[in-house]
Each structure stands twice: as structure tokens, then as C-alpha cells.
Symmetry: D2
Subunit: 312 residues, 4 copies
């Protein structure tokens, strides 16, 4: 992650400000405020603002006149109860705003989550930076042979070198042509006065999908946890998972009780279908249930075995 001197100075200036407030305040998140957490080779996530804390979840669940909290342990117990029973509205009472720099192909996965507010940097209006995502060697994975939507072993040797070379040279060339078509220098003056320069809204189409973009993204805690349960999951693509993991750290600093409940009742939980439950009950009754006798599809049986930590 590289910041220009001007960007670093803007961030420092924002961090230097202090004001007095009556609002719920979370010192551990204040410490992180505005600081970019690096993700991938040029990306970052940084918290720009937040509303509420663990107590605000409790306060909303009780519709109270004051802070609505009792002892910390009672509050944590209520938060765990709400999480376990999918009472989602109290978690919606907390809100967080991020500034994210991310490759366009990641942005396209991310934006499928519709319950958030987004302001993206406009390539109709402005010129994108010369920054592209190039996977680190250990993430340059082959297509999975068993899962059409997954990754297999890491590429090695000549094939890895060739792939990295193609990704780098294509991104570089298309970006250079983007700038050439725009015919603008950094100050917006024409590079070649004899040319008009292609409209920005058109020139951008020459960029590759690993070009970085950035946006402001604001979401409530319930929907953020839903996003993280999908995107911090091992089935998510590595690149978006890297962002999810950085955001999980900000959730831990912000609402520690909700974070722990989320680990126990979502990330670390598993949903057992009716056929799976029937099989587990038979097993607990002492029966030696097999894939065949379970009545499940082979695929579902494999999933159950994984959940129970047994060979399939």
C-alpha cells in the first residue's frame, strides 16, 4: 500500500482532531480511526466513522430512555441471546463507514450486497491511479479440478512466471493506452495539443479488471455481519476474504461482545438439515450410520462429515 505525501498528511490531520461528544464512544475503535489497514498489494480498509457500541444493541432491544445497559455480563448474555435467535433489528442500530481501496473485480463481488450505502470514485469524472492487483506467488492458484468455483494447487516455475508477466504487462499496457487516449497530463493539460482526447467515461473501458478503484461504504452492524459471514468464509474468493478479515478486526475493536457472539453463533456454527439431524440422532443412539443408510446425497453426507470432524 502506497500513500502520496498529500494523502498521508490528510489522514494525519484528520487523526489529530479531537472533539467532545455525548455520543457512545469506543476508545479501541477511536485508535484505529482513519488509519488504513493494508490489504493485498495496493489496497486498504480504513474506518471513517461509526455510530453505537455493544450497549447500543442492548439499549435498542430494551427501547430504553437511558443507555439501557445493566452489568456488562448481563449485556453480553442478551447480545448472545439476540444473535442465537436471529433477532437482527437491535444489531441494525449500530452503523460503520469505511473507505476501501480494492481491485475492480473484487468491487464487483462486493457490490452484490445491496443493503449498504456506497460512493465510488468516478472514472467518468476523474482519472484512476496507475495501480493494479498482481497476486503474490503463493496466491497464484490453478483452477480446482473438483470444484468449478475453486482454486487448486499453486502454479509454479515457468507457468507462474508467464502468468505474472502477462498480468503485469497487460495491465501496464492498457493503462498507458488509457492515458494516451485521454491525452491529459496530471494537471489536466493536453499532452499533445493537436489531439482532443477521448472522453474519460469512454477511455476507462480500456482498463483491466485488476485496476484499483476506491469507495466509501457504510453499513449497519447486522448487514455487515451477514456480509462477513459470506466473505470471511473459506468458500469466498481469497481476495475478498482478505478484506473481510481486515474488517473483522475492526468489528472486534468496535463491539467485542457482538464479535464474540458472531464467532460462536455464525462463523463457527453450522446448520444441520432435517436429514442431517436425523442422522446425528441415529448416531447418538449408537447406530453406525453410513452414507448409504443416511438417505442423503453423497454431497450432503460429505458436508455432514466435515461438520462433525469425521472422514466422509
Amino acid at each position: 500500500m502506497h500513500l502520496t505525501a498529500e494523502q498521508a498528511a490528510e489522514i494525519d490531520a484528520a487523526r489529530a482532531v479531537r472533539a467532545e461528544t455525548r455520543r457512545p464512544t469506543v476508545p479501541a475503535l477511536e485508535d484505529l480511526l482513519f488509519t488504513p489497514l493494508p490489504v493485498l498489494d495496493h489496497g486498504f480498509v480504513r474506518v471513517i466513522d461509526y455510530m453505537g457500541d455493544d450497549a447500543a444493541i442492548v439499549q435498542a432491544a430494551r427501547v430504553s430512555y437511558g443507555r439501557g445497559t445493566k452489568r456488562v455480563s448481563e449485556d453480553a448474555g442478551l447480545i448472545r441471546y439476540l444473535m442465537r435467535h436471529r433477532h437482527s433489528t437491535p444489531f441494525e442500530m449500530c452503523e460503520i463507514k469505511y473507505h476501501v481501496k480494492l481491485p475492480i473485480f473484487v468491487a464487483r463481488q462486493w457490490i452484490r450486497h445491496r443493503t449498504a450505502n456506497v460512493n465510488e470514485y468516478s472514472a467518468r469524472y476523474s482519472i484512476l491511479d496507475r495501480e493494479f492487483y498482481l497476486p503474490a506467488p503463493e496466491h497464484l492458484a490453478a483452477q480446482s479440478a473438483v470444484n468449478r468455483q475453486g482454486r487448486g494447487a499453486v502454479l509454479e516455475g515457468a507457468e507462474a512466471a508467464r502468468v505474472l508477466d502477462l498480468l503485469r504487462s497487460d495491465a501496464t499496457r492498457t493503462y498507458d493506452h488509457y492515458i494516451e487516449m485521454l491525452n491529459e497530463d496530471a494537471a489536466g493539460a493536453p499532452q499533445d495539443p493537436a489531439r482532443q482526447g477521448l472522453a474519460r467515461e469512454l477511455a476507462r473501458m480500456n482498463l483491466t479488471l485488476n485496476t484499483y478503484t476506491q469507495w466509501y461504504w457504510k453499513i449497519d452492524l447486522h448487514n455487515l455481519l451477514h456480509f462477513l459471514s459470506l466473505r470471511a468464509d473459506p468458500h469466498a474468493q481469497f481476495e475478498i476474504r482478505a478484506y473481510a478479515e481486515a474488517m473483522l478486526e475492526t468489528v472486534r475493536a468496535w463491539v467485542p461482545a457482538a464479535y464474540q457472539a458472531f464467532l460462536d453463533y455464525r462463523l463457527g456454527a453450522a446448520t444441520l438439515s432435517a436429514p442431517m439431524l436425523a442422522a446425528v440422532r441415529r448416531m447418538l443412539g449408537g447406530e453406525a450410520v453410513t452414507a448409504e443408510s443416511s438417505g442423503m446425497s453423497r454431497r450432503e453426507w460429505t458436508e455432514l462429515s466435515a461438520v462433525l470432524g469425521r472422514g466422509g
Copy 2:
């Protein structure tokens, strides 16, 4: 509006807390924080929390690393431009949370706005207060003769007295029966040990629609302004308009530039249809356009005359 001593103490305790924050802070709204603004006879609106300020709108529009603001006048100009051209996403970057006490029939109009987060006091779980909305004499209006969805003149004399008496006595009687069916005193003990007491989730059905309920309601600035443009409008029912007007005051304290742009480009603006625009152009060309020669329906012509401040 009446608060119990305990509620007043909880509010005072919340107001007494001060913390240091790096977040954007608005002193004029901090002054209002937690304090109930009275609405109708027993209702209120109070701001519980907020995120962002005028500068946060500008910051998101520019996707900046720092606060993103320039001179105050430039920021206000950009906010006016965004409002005029319906660029709504930067306004979504501000968020506010209210605690509202309101009659159930008002709550039912309010909840039609779906783009907000709500936690309502649960009458399945708890017992509602003995408080009902009774219109002030000057708001006890007759049915409009010309508008099936409007109010006419104020009721007077015996009819007004009879209506108020019916509203008061019916609300009182049904509430008393609600408590009798519950068979609970304030501490939750049975009033009559020989009875079981009807389930709360059933007993509540005996209450009238002017009974007060309360909720936490959280919304972003764009959707709040949309709500207010509909509910602070003269066509809105008086009772919900009273809430909208109290909330407008909180918006004025919170984001003064967005508030002024909202007055100029929404509340004080009018949309002219294609036929209306054609008529105005003819008028400005010196033609004496009439209802008949305008080609509009009588209703639309009347609406245009009102917009232009002319007799229809």
C-alpha cells in the same frame, strides 16, 4: 408529555456523559442530544445518536482521504448542486437515530417508509403505558367535503364535546379492561390470584389505535429528507406532520447547509409536468392561457395555478 422521575433521571445521566472523539461532531446537535422534544399531547422525538455532518456529504462525494472539505461556501455550493440534481448517495453517508413516542395509528403511517431500522417496544413482552392521544380542540376537524382524504372545518359545540368524550371514555375503558384481562399489577404479580391472566400478546388487541407506543428509529439523511418531504407536506395528516416538523428542527441543527438546500430544492420546490411547462412557456410568451386552452385536466390546471400563485 410526561416522564417518570426514573426516565428523567436516565436522560439526565445520559446527557451528563462526555467523551473525546476523533469523529465529526456537531455542537448544535450535541446540545439537543437525548432531550425529548414534545409532540402532540404525550409524544416526543429525541435524537439518540448521529453520524456525520455537512462536511461528510462533501467528503463522500469527493471520496477523499481527509475531511474532503474546502471553504464553507464551496461546500454549501456542492451540497446545493447535489440536492438539485438528485445525487442522493452522498446524503446517505449521514445517519441519525431517534427515540419516538407516538400513537399507534401514526406509527402505522410512519412504518410504510421501509428504508429505516426500527426497534419497537414489544406489547407481546411488556405492558403498554396508560396514555392515549386526544386531539386538541383546534385539531378536531370534520371530514372534508371536497377531498375524501382531508379535513374540513373544526368541530364545535356539542358535537366536539361528544367526540372528545367518546374518544376519552373508550380509550380509558378498553385500557382498563386490558389491565383486567392481564391480571397483573405494576410489579407483575397477579391482581386476582384465582385468575391466570390472558397472554400479553392477546390482551393488547383490546387497545385502541390512539394508544401510545414507542420505538427507536434510525435512518440515513437522504431517506430522512424523503420521509420529511412527504410528511412535512400540507397533504400529510396533521398528527404525523407534527413529528416531521420537530424532526426538521433537528436536521437544521445537524446539517444546516443540507437543510437549506432541502428547503429550496424540495420542500419549497414544485415539479411541473410536460403539459404544465408548455402552458408556462406560452404564458411567458404573452399568451392568455386558460384552463380550456391549456389542454390539461381541470385538476391539473388548479394545481398549476396554485404553484404559480394565481387564482385557478
Copy 3:
């Protein structure tokens, strides 16, 4: 459920129409179209329109040019896979529209689900029918002693009679006063020419929460199944569950493969938390795990025991 002769004739007329279409069509749901399914004492649910079928889920998942379906068994397998892995967007491609008549207190629970389209009968504009929900004797339940949000045993004898009498007489009296205040007869003419009549938008506040209202409600299949998973659940209040169960029947007729997957992977499924999974693994390893040695709260242990079909 009572329909006027005019309403019954309107429904018959709608059912009599036949048209030719290229759209996916489901004969089993066509059979139900427009017919009210009775719910509670005066309510109903009826399907007004629908879009899509089981094959449309498959078609969207494959983004196909044609119907996108293969063999029925393959399609059902894909639908089960999508349901199990919470791939929700293909289910959003089916849509259904209902006309529902329901008590206002049920409508207030229902409307918390925000991802639907609603048009409610307007009591600002029109006069509500003289119909109230009165629980059948077997549903007149006492407050649960163990669960503040639940029902206990059924009321009996004098207490039951008293409760029913109060509910009936209060609803009747407040409705009669509503009509008196309106001062309108069925044709809209004043009952007493000497009175003006209270505005409809005000008079309605005298009605009790068991008065019936009605609305058009339109929702996609994914969000409908989410609604049903909450409202067909044993923890839901009986009255809204009665509606959910009627709607489940329409889902069964409409999208049988999705319906079966929903039973297996949602309604009949259970989510085990990280601590619950750890306990199950220990049990399967032959260990005699107890509430104490499980490390769970007593409440969570009881929930696990229920899932596993064991005494807690």
C-alpha cells in the same frame, strides 16, 4: 370468513377469465388463483398473481437463453444445493402477490418485514368493515409463566367467558362510536344532518387493534421463505402463524421443489453454534457430556437437547 355477494361475484369473474401466455405457468397454483383461503375468524389469504416457477430458479442460476432446465431430478438437485448453501438470488427471481385480510395487531407484526411491496386499505380515505378478531376458545391462552413472550395454558370457565365478553363488547362499542363520530351511512350521506362528522383519518383512532384491515402484499420467493421461516415457527404468535401456514400451502402448489428444499434445509433444520458442535463431537466420541461439562449456558444446553431430541 364472510364475503359479500358483490365480492364473491368479483372473485368469480376474475377466476372465469382465461388468456394465452408464453410465460411459465403453474397449473396447481392457477387452480388456487383468486380464491380466498380462510384464516382465523374473518381473515383470508388469496393469491392474486405470480411470476416464475421451479424452473425459473434454475434458469436464473444458469443465466440461460432458454428455460435453462434439464431433467426434473437435476433441477431439484440444483435447487436443493442453492437452498443448502444460501445462494439466495435465484430464488429472488420468482415473485408472488397476495390479498390478505388480517387483524391490525397482526398487520403490525407482519409489516416489520421490509422487503415486500404493500398497498393497504386506507382508513384515511375509506371506512373499515365491522369485523374484529375474537380468539376461538382453544386459543384463549394465559400468559406463560416461564417465557415472557409466550402463551401458557388455555383459559377456562368464568375467566374465559369474561375475557371473550370484554373483547367482543369493547370492539363492538368502539366501532359503533367510530360510525357515530363519522356520521355517515353506507352511502356516505350524513346520519344526522345537524352534525358535520369527524374526519375519517381521526375517527379511526377509536378502533381496537383486533379490527380487520386488508392489503395487497407482493414479495419475491427468497424473502417470502425468510418470512415463513420466522412466522411458521413455533415461537411465532399463533395468529400470524395461521397466515404463514396458509401461505406455505400456496408455496407447495407453486414451487414444489423449492418447497421441499425449504422444509429440509430451513424449517426442519437447526443451526448448531460452535459450543454446540463441540459438544456433539464429544458425544459422538463416546463421552457423556453434561450441561455442566459442556461449558454452555443452561439455556443453550436446553436448546441443544431439544434439537437432539433428548431430555435436557
Copy 4:
């Protein structure tokens, strides 16, 4: 627009099916069903399914038991009233589903509208087609000198030729490298058995933003009209406007009364701010208002002049 023989056959097969239905049916839209309407060089929009018609808007507004319609002229009048007064919920009762093929940079603008259901072709799972958007010569516009977000004159001669050559050769080269990195032929077999092939979810990042993608997109009529009011607007980028215009034709076939009301009260309408209205009133009073005496900003004055069809 090019379809493979297989795709054309799938579409023909879908169009050949006829079924009988009780649902509202619109013959003019049935005629269009499944047929791709060409947009840009390789894109299309085609209607896959729909729910409701003009009468369904009226039916929902009246919450009726039957079709709810009266004379066609009365229905159209009510629809015009609802549109003029922004009563949006009855329009939400109609729903339409499209299959769209579009360049990725257009898809990124489009997806900002969050109130729709989307299933996009997955480049994690499948291989994208070798099709890129190349602007027609008359749409190869220069950057606007006056509007940072707009287009100026069309590029000509050597500059135009150079731009087109760059766009074509870069898209072609990056696509060829994408296929090379995947190391798959059309049947999914390795082109070079010595290589593993890069994972699809990674290889896609080498594609340029003018590569075509496709999706199923489903939306209700209210939100569709909102989308079209923004995207059929002259300020929208030409490429997305081309899609909006094709969709407008499908709306005209589907709900002709709502379409006409939309033209009159949205697309052809203009919102006048409070300062604009004040100026128009002064003009109608015979005053010669100038930019200076209007009190508006120069920019707003220019906008008013455009609305009134006068030189600024």
C-alpha cells in the same frame, strides 16, 4: 448482436410454448417476450417474464376483490393522478424480468440501483465470451471542455483511428492471454497438458472493462421507472442510455397508460426550486428578471432558462 445457433434455438423453443392462465396478460408484451432487442454492438435486452398490467396498478390502489378497474379512461386518469402525486406503491405491484447482455463498465453503473434482483453470469465458474464493446465512429466522443462528466465533439481522422485501434487490439490481446492463462479449450480440456491453468476467478482480472457480461435483472415498475428517469436522461452516459431506451419500448408495450403518465410527469417534467418559482412568478407578473436580479447562482439561472426554453 450475434447469437449462436444453439441460443437462437433455445429462444425459439421458449417462444413456441403457449399455456392458459388466469393471470393478467398483455398481448403486446407477449409479442416481445424472449426476443432480444439489440443494443450497442453485441448487447441486448430481452423480456423474460412479467407480472401485472395497467389494471393491476388500479387494482392495488383500490385494494379490490376483483380486477378493480372501471372504464379505461377512468383508470388512466387514476394512474396519472398517482404518478403526479408520487404515490409509488401501486406501481410496485407490477414486476418485470429482463435478460441483458452489456459491457462490464455499463454493468457497474447499472448495479448502483440497489432495488432490483440480479443474477449475473459468473466468471468464477464459467468462461466469458470473446466479445467487447467498440464504440461506433459517431459515438467516439472527446472529453467535454465545459463539463468534467460529459462528452464533447466526435473524434475524427487519425485520432479516432488510433483510439479504435487501441481499444480493439488491447481487448483482443488481453482476452487471448486470458484464454492462454486458463489453458482450456471450449470443451474444458487443457490446451497444453503440461500446464495446470490459472483459476478462472483469477484469470478474469486480465479482461478489459468493455468485455461483455450478462445477467438476469428483475425489478418492480416503480423502481424501473426511477431507473429509466435517471438513465434515459440526456445526462446519462450514451451507452447505458441505449439500454434505457430499449427498455422504455418494453414499458410502452406493457403498461401504456403508466408509460404515458411517466412521459408527462417524469421524463418531460422539470422541478423548479423555490428561487426558480419566485423568478417565474415575477416574470409572469411582467417583470424583466435577469440572472443578476434573480438572486440565483449563474448555474441555476442557466438551468431555469433551459427549462423555460429561453436563452440564458
